[in-house]
């Protein structure tokens, strides 16, 4: 909740700050002269300052709530308590009261767990000490070493001077001290606002994992092998899918028989998510490369077939008529009119298919694989290596995004007329 509130606050604050700063430096281009901008989609251009602030905010929040060493410590959210802490308790033994001190060493998860040495002190209640790992809690029978323990009818009545009873609790400066119904103290050191590294490691840990794994590898394969295998499967599966799907789509767009024959198959397969095919493909082809490629082939096939079909159906009949009356043969119309006219649709389909394939390959690798990005994060998650999981997710995102950027670039280069007729 707090994180969301901070996020929203930065969103709003950033908006006003940027607005205030850039108010005087607005470029006087065409769009800035438009008076109607609300509702004019073409006048909405992404504010680059917002994009930058947005990304910085995400990293800032991530760093702040994981105590990252990359950002100054005054930006850190309150950390979990570590170090020595003390509180005292008061025992009432049949009308007699006495105090004793408990010294707690809250140590780093992988740090030294030494129990502090303490003097027993005077009175019948004796001082105690205990060592607790960060984010953990421990039960402590503080009366165990007292001369008048609870077996003798003594009761702990206060912690740091505040009354306590079974089921109740007292907050001290470094911890919450709760009392169980039987009278044992449960010491819960403050966990602060930061996330445990198990749930969310700080950015630099993810980065150093990336460096480490890219140099030493993971599970007998280098990082590039894992990513390369995933990419290789996607590209091969997609290419075979396109090589079969595009001609199939053309045939469906040009011939009654093909359309009739394949329509039921394509229309049935289209809504089946490729992920649902994973079990079947594993049964048929195992978990090796063949199975993965068959799966991706199937994922790409229907998308490409449908794209090619609608590319053909979308050809303006006057273009075909014009070509015929200019003396073109059927084959020439195919080559010079129908194919180029369908390219924009095919590119759109290819972009979708690549996205679906990339998602499918990761999912398939999560289920079963010996190499691959999905396998890497799945295995890492079994060993609770959250940093590797995060690194994998980020790399998967970056690669997926790069594929899309590459496809869009190719599209601009190869079908510049898209959407302009």
């Amino acid at each position: 909740m707090t994180i969301l509130a901070i996020y929203v606050a930065i969103f709003i604050g950033g908006f006003f700050a940027v607005k205030y700063i850039t108010a005087s430096t607005q470029p006087k281009d065409y769009t800035s002269l438009k008076t109607v901008t609300f509702g004019d989609e073409s006048a909405v251009r992404p504010n680059r300052a917002a994009s930058i602030i947005s990304i910085v905010t995400i990293f800032l929040l991530w760093g702040s709530f994981t105590g990252s060493s990359l950002i100054p410590s005054f930006l850190h959210a309150p950390a979990a308590y570590t170090g020595l802490g003390e509180f005292n308790y008061t025992v009432d033994a049949n009308g007699q009261t006495d105090d004793a001190t408990v010294t707690v060493n809250v140590h780093e998860t992988d740090g030294e767990a030494a129990v502090p040495e303490v003097e027993p002190g005077d009175g019948f209640a004796k001082n105690d000490s205990i060592s607790i790992a960060k984010y953990r809690s421990k039960l402590l029978r503080v009366d165990a070493n007292d001369e008048q323990g609870r077996d003798e009818g003594a009761k702990i009545v206060a912690v740091n001077g505040k009354a306590i009873e079974p089921g109740g609790e007292v907050i001290v400066d470094f911890a919450r001290i709760a009392m169980t119904p039987k009278g044992t103290l449960n010491i819960v050191p403050k966990t602060g606002w930061q996330m445990q590294p198990l749930y969310l490691p700080p950015p630099e840990k993810v980065a150093s994992r990336l460096v480490e794994i890219s140099s030493t590898g993971f599970r007998n394969s280098t990082l590039w092998e894992h990513l390369g295998y995933s990419l290789f499967r996607v590209i091969v599966g997609f290419l075979i899918g396109a090589a079969v799907g595009i001609p199939l789509g053309y045939a469906m767009g040009l011939s009654n028989w093909f359309r009739g024959w394949f329509d039921p198959v394509v229309e049935f397969m289209r809504p089946v998510p490729p992920l649902a095919l994973i079990p079947l493909v594993i049964i048929w082809a195992g978990i090796g490369e063949v199975g993965k490629i068959v799966l991706l082939f199937l994922a790409a096939l229907w998308i490409m077939a449908i794209a090619a079909r609608s590319g053909v159906s979308g050809v303006n009949i006057t273009k075909v008529h014009a070509a015929y009356s200019l003396g073109a043969s059927k084959w020439q119309i195919m080559r010079h009119v129908i194919i180029p006219n369908s390219l924009p649709e095919i590119f759109t389909g290819a972009r979708v298919a690549m996205g679906v394939c990339w998602g499918t390959v990761v999912a398939a690798e999560l289920v079963a694989a010996e190499k691959g990005a999905g396998m890497m994060i799945m295995v890492a998650s079994k060993f609770q290596n959250t940093d590797i999981v995060l690194m994998g997710i980020i790399l998967i995102g970056v690669i997926g995004f790069s594929i899309d950027v590459l496809m869009r670039w190719a599209e601009r280069l190869l079908v510049p007329w898209k959407g302009r007729s």
């Binding site: 303006n316 008529h321 009356s325 003396g327 390219l343």
Partner: protein, 268 residues
């Protein structure tokens, strides 16, 4: 027998609901080589249908089209077509569009190059020949369409409202261009238009069609097209017969439109 013969063409469209539309009934026409005929008529009287039949895109339910004595069975390079819009190939440059016909015949650049460049000159697009189609204005696109049709050297040019989407000024320039090209090349041309003025100015022959069923209502022979070849079109409009014919045809078409409205009102 040379030229274009349209013999007793009838066309009935069967509708999915079981009914049918008689789009054309018993249309007969003869066009000699080099004649320019404009076709006028209220919307829905079958002008496009007639042109599609002549082009060979549709087979008539009755009758026959003959070109230089042989019966027409489908589209052919001897009958070129200029569409209202959307018929250019966006994936080709202006010049590639114009050279499309010769290239489909297997000609090489050396064979068609000079003619294509000449035609680009004639339509005033020499400077735009490497541009993409979507970078041109509507009027420029129609000039490309015209040049593309001429580059293929058809005997007959069929135009379905080729200037319908243009503004008045561009339209006037294009009208002069059509007349000039007609005289220079001696092509047989059928031009469908919704503009009575355009039909008068461009049509050596002017055909007025009537609807339901689509048929020939009246035919005129006019002097204005010949005058317009070397005179300014605005001068031609001052010709004493021009206004008279214009009023006559307008009245005729208004009558037809009213009749259609009356009929639909009755049936409604």
């Amino acid at each position: 027998m040379s030229g274009l013969t349209i013999e007793n063409i009838s066309m009935r469209f069967d509708l999915p609901n079981g009914g049918s539309v008689q789009a054309l009934k018993d249309v007969t026409l003869d066009l000699k080589p080099g004649e320019l005929m404009s076709v006028l008529g209220p919307s829905g009287c079958g002008k496009t249908t007639l042109l599609n039949i002549v082009a060979g895109f549709l087979a008539p339910t009755e009758g026959r089209i003959a070109m230089n004595g042989h019966t027409v069975h489908g589209p052919d390079a001897e009958r070129g077509m200029v569409f209202q819009q959307g018929a250019l190939f966006e994936w080709m440059s202006v010049r590639e569009n114009v050279a499309f016909g010769p290239r489909m015949k297997g000609e090489r650049e050396a064979q068609y190059g000079a003619n294509v460049d000449h035609l680009l000159d004639v339509v005033g697009l020499q400077d735009f020949k490497e541009k993409a189609i979507y970078e041109l204005s509507g009027g420029m696109q129609q000039r490309v369409a015209l040049a593309r049709c001429l580059a293929n050297d058809p005997d007959v040019i069929l135009m379905d409202e080729p200037l319908g989407a243009l503004d008045a000024l561009t339209r006037e320039k294009m009208q002069s261009l059509v007349l000039k090209l007609w005289k220079e090349t001696g092509k047989t041309i059928i031009l469908i238009t919704h503009s009575v003025e355009e039909a008068l100015l461009l049509g050596e022959r002017l055909l007025v069609m009537a609807p339901r069923p689509g048929r020939i209502h009246k035919e005129y022979r006019l002097p204005f097209a010949d005058l317009g070849v070397d005179q300014d079109l605005r001068e031609v409009k001052k010709h004493p017969d021009y206004n008279k014919t214009r009023e006559e045809i307008l009245a005729m078409i208004w009558d037809m439109e009213e009749e259609i409205m009356g009929r639909t009102e009755e049936s409604a």
